[in-house]
């Protein structure tokens, strides 16, 4: 398998707080990679560094063998590397279908396509993906009125609409009703296997991430603590200590 995202010695600090220190990870193309760690261990900072939300202090970040650490957010998004937010971001005034249609990949459009209306195929694709995440019945509801969990699902569907090659998900199951989590795991796996989207997931729910990921990285105090397949991580004493607070 080829590596799609590779960070080498990435460091980032906010003033005196070192959020990431010498992080080197690689995400394999076509797989599901997990990123875990206690609160404040620098997971979201690493995500933000990768998608270009802030400049990094040192190190390199490559996406499909292209250096992206100096690129702004939009340019990275246009390469097909997309992220969802921990606090969902959707266009709350619009209904679900409109949210989906806005998420069409503008980067793949010609001038003529941008200045034309959405066609039948776009509507069908929107409906299909809303069906996929289970929001089809709600498609004409104002998206701001949806519950937090539903908004997360909508954001996930919007990301799929954008046809990314790689998707960074920041805590996809947070705030989602526990009885629905199995359904979500199934959808994430299908997004990976059916649509061929590489997933890189921050997750706190161990059951979820152990279930899905091929490879897991664990951060603690801004440093890379351990990496390996789920079985190895589960039994790694350092990871257990980090979560339980041993020193």
């Amino acid at each position: 398998m080829t590596v799609i995202i590779e960070t080498k010695n990435v460091s980032k600090s906010y003033g005196g707080v070192v959020a990431n220190k010498d992080i080197s990870i690689s995400v394999e193309s076509g797989g599901i990679t997990g990123l875990i760690g206690p609160n404040g261990s620098g997971k979201t900072t690493l995500f933000n560094s990768i998608v270009g939300y802030h400049p990094i202090d040192s190190g390199t970040i490559q996406f499909e063998n292209q250096e992206i650490s100096k690129k702004p957010v939009q340019e990275i998004a246009r390469l097909g590397l997309l992220r969802t937010f921990q606090q969902t971001r959707i266009y709350g005034e619009m209904n679900c279908v409109e949210n989906m249609l806005i998420s069409l990949p503008h980067r793949k459009m010609t001038m003529r396509e941008i200045f034309s209306r959405n066609n039948r195929a776009d509507y069908e694709q929107a409906d299909r993906l809303l069906e996929f995440v289970g929001l089809y019945e709600k498609r004409f509801l104002q998206s701001g009125s949806l519950s937090f969990g539903q908004q997360k699902l909508l954001e996930f569907a919007m990301a799929l609409m954008n046809e990314p090659t790689c998707l960074l998900l920041d805590e996809p199951t947070a705030g989602i009703n526990p009885t629905l989590i199995n359904g979500l795991i199934d959808r994430l796996k299908r997004a990976n296997s059916e649509f061929g989207i590489t997933l890189f997931i921050i997750e706190h729910n161990m059951r979820v991430i152990m279930n899905m990921a091929d490879q897991i990285y664990c951060l603690a105090h801004g440093e890379l603590l351990a990496s390996g397949p789920p079985s190895a991580i589960q039994s790694d004493q350092r990871v257990i200590d980090a979560y339980l607070g041993a020193h």
């Binding site: 937010f85 959707i90 209904n95 209306r117 539903q150 989602i176």
Partner: protein, 348 residues
């Protein structure tokens, strides 16, 4: 609703064409009303649809006037000599020079203003919210001051444009139709534009620009395009005004930040931001209100206008069409079900 649409628009077009003949005493008033509609619609492109509240769109109005004057006069005479009143020269324009000047002047004004929107926008679109409003206002004020010190275009005296070569009453009809034609073209253009993917993208920028960026939308490019399209029509409106008013000067007429520059915003707020008809309805209500108070409440007209602005901003933020859209969403083809979610409604 659907069956009524075509007859409604046909009747409206007939009324627009017939209006200056039905109300001959109000020809110039109606032309000014069209000017208000044009500037309100163009302001709403960025203010209502894209969430960038510009207070400097009057910059394009004034710049349109000057570009039109320079082109319209320049095709016949030397602009520097023409504007130099102390030279005492008398200049007469042939019909071809006059009407050619109107046509070329309008086009040049529109195109030049689009270009300026791209150049100015490149800097000002780095600003958000109130900073954008103040930044663009600064551009308009600075431009007015610069032009009022520029001898070649008449400095503070402004420019006296050539006069309509025939009967002045037909001239009024001529300018009415120039404004009305521009307004109708603009309205049709916008009703198309807002339904395209481009329209959806600028709405996305309004609702959450950071999200739009994260989804890979070329936000800056879209913002510049929207403002350039808007500036084109403001520039054309300014160009027509230049010929209609015959004489204009930089600070009170061309770059009139405190009059038309604010009126266009009030029209949109009154009619409803982010709606197609809102700016039109707002411009009509505002213009009638303004003219009535200017006639019957003279001395108190600014107070009345200020009260209207305060009432709109404080109690009526969605404006007339915004209020209607909430009450009668089906009239707008909006399909939003408002039934509350049941607890089990998430993913199944």
């Amino acid at each position: 609703m659907k069956y009524l649409k075509i007859p409604f628009y046909l009747a409206l077009m007939a009324f627009i064409v017939a209006a200056p003949f039905l109300f001959p005493a109000f020809k110039t008033q109606l032309a000014t009303l069209w000017l208000m509609i044009i500037v309100a619609l163009t302001w709403d492109m960025t203010g209502g649809q894209m969430g960038y509240n510009s207070l400097g769109n009057i910059f394009f109005y004034g710049t349109g006037m000057y570009v039109c004057a320079i082109v319209g006069i320049g095709i016949a005479f030397n602009v520097g000599e023409y504007t130099n009143a102390s030279g005492g020269g008398i200049y007469t324009f042939t019909d071809a020079q006059y009407f050619g000047g109107v046509l070329l002047g309008c086009l040049a004004a529109g195109l030049f203003c689009s270009l300026m929107a791209v150049l100015v926008g490149f800097i000002t679109f780095g600003l958000r919210g109130p900073y954008f409003a103040i930044g663009t206002l600064g551009v308009a004020i600075a431009a007015g001051e610069l032009v009022s010190n520029w001898e070649w275009v008449g400095a503070g005296q402004g420019i006296a444009m050539p006069v309509y070569p025939y009967d002045l009453e037909t001239g009024k009809v001529f300018f009415y139709f120039l404004f009305a034609g521009t307004g109708v073209v603009l309205f049709v253009f916008l009703s198309w534009l807002y339904r395209t993917r481009f329209g959806a993208a600028i709405n996305a920028i309004r609702d959450d620009e950071e999200k739009a960026e994260a989804m890979g939308i070329h936000t800056l490019r879209y913002k510049l395009t929207a403002w350039a399209l808007s500036a084109f029509f403001v520039g054309v409106a300014g160009a027509i005004s230049a010929y209609q008013l015959i004489h204009f000067e930089p600070l009170e007429t061309a770059y009139q930040t405190i009059n038309l520059g604010i009126f266009m915003v009030v029209c949109v707020l009154l009619g409803g931001k982010g709606t197609l008809w809102g700016p039109v309805v707002g411009a009509i209500v505002f213009h009638v209100f303004k003219e009535v108070t200017w006639n019957y409440l003279l001395g108190w007209q600014w107070v009345a206008l200020g009260a209207l602005i305060v009432v709109t901003v404080v109690f009526f933020q969605d404006g007339i069409m915004g209020w209607l859209r909430v009450k009668k969403p089906e009239w707008f083809g909006i399909r939003v079900e408002t039934s509350s979610n049941d607890a089990t409604g998430a993913a199944r």
